[in-house]
Amino acid sequence: MNLSEKMLPIALGEERSDLLSGYVLGSLFFETSTRTRLSFASAMARLAGTTLGFDQPLGASIQKGETLADTIKMVDAYSDVIVLRHGAEGSARLAAHFAAKPVINAGDGAGQHPTQTILDLYTIRKTKGKINGINVALVGDLKYGRTAHSLAEALALFGAKLIFVAPQMLQMPKETVRAVEKLGGKPKIFHKVEESLPDADVMYVTRIQKERFPDLAEYQKVAGAYVVDNALLKDAKPDLSIMHPLPRIDEIHSEVDKTPHALYFQQAFNGVPVRMAILALILGASD
């Protein structure tokens, strides 16, 4: 996080760096991505490195039935570090098994999304000055939302106080609750956003993951149930910060964008300096 801070002027284009000149990033996105993929590419470019790869598997050998293991072995030979997003849980772990080069998990199905977590922690620390003791409400799809899983564990590790707000069917998986409790976290569990408002310093809203619902009827039942708008925020702490990994559908109204609560666009930008720091550290190129 400290290195991310140092990367900030380079990420903003105010300074130039050739820290990763000659390094190649293998960027494999089997699932669509805007922010994660582009911020990794931007991070690599800002540090004078090169990115190769694909952002959807059409046309690649995967369409011909190639296994992930074989794809990874090839990209491992072409690059110095691999970024992988894949629809199956545990795919990054499998990739790390077959690759000699470091593998960065950019989202594995409904599993984890650790670089998002690091940029979320960075954003909270930068805004609130600390993480320890901060009340963070995780709101929305806690079952399928992989960012919420990684973030809950990391926040517990840093001593934040957790509030899980979701309908019963989308509550945090028991594996994550167990991991949080092992780290000493005692999450409060609510079903309505309003219940979390008096305490929350940060509200981390997630999109209901339509694509991960086995049954569309179940999606319809909960879609739109967790909406943040200015009317709701009347009862919030004045310095409540609202975060969202984006993309959003309608869970945060656009009217909130103009309020001091909105932190999500800053959060999205922070992906660049944080991923610059991650790449530099993994490639052993930082000072």
Binding site: E89, G90, L94, G109, E175
Partner: protein, 152 residues
């Protein structure tokens, strides 16, 4: 005089203290079906037991089990005892033990796990708890407790 429902075997393996109802699964684990059995296999279901109320027992003649088979039995019947019989005598006797790592014998119950996607890799689990059994997939991190339907 004690009545033997099944006569003693000369050489082979007696798997005793199998959790009641699990004997058929034990046979499946050790790959015994009507087509491939090379010797006599006896199975006793719902036998009175001193340790538990009821147990199952399997006797396989002329065969000694390998460690991978024993690991699988441990996963579905952690109190089972293995008696290796040679010339009517118990040559070796031990209780099955759930290993620390379970590799290649159980499938992950999570259909979204990469190990269920035709990748060239064996499913692997860390044993979080032996009693009650709790396995954690090292790939997707999902926990599973009932493995009997997921044995490979």
């Amino acid at each position: 005089m004690k009545e033997f429902k099944v006569t003693p075997i000369r050489n082979g393996t007696v798997i005793d203290h199998i959790s009641f109802g699990m004997a058929l699964k034990v046979l499946r684990i050790i790959g015994i079906s009507g087509e491939n059995a090379q010797s006599t296999v006896s199975m006793l279901l719902h036998v009175p037991s001193k340790k538990a109320e009821w147990k199952d027992v399997v006797k396989i003649e002329d065969r000694e089990l390998d460690p991978k088979e024993l690991d699988k039995i441990a996963l579905i019947s952690p109190n089972a005892t293995i008696n290796i019989i040679r010339d009517y005598n118990v040559a070796e006797k031990f209780i099955v033990d759930v290993p620390e790592i379970v590799k290649g014998i159980v499938k992950c119950q999570n259909p979204g796990c990469i190990t269920n996607h035709n990748e060239p890799i064996e499913p692997e689990f860390v044993v979080e708890s032996k009693k009650p059994l709790l396995l954690r997939c090292i790939y997707c991190e999902r926990l599973m407790s009932d493995v009997s339907e997921y044995l490979i």
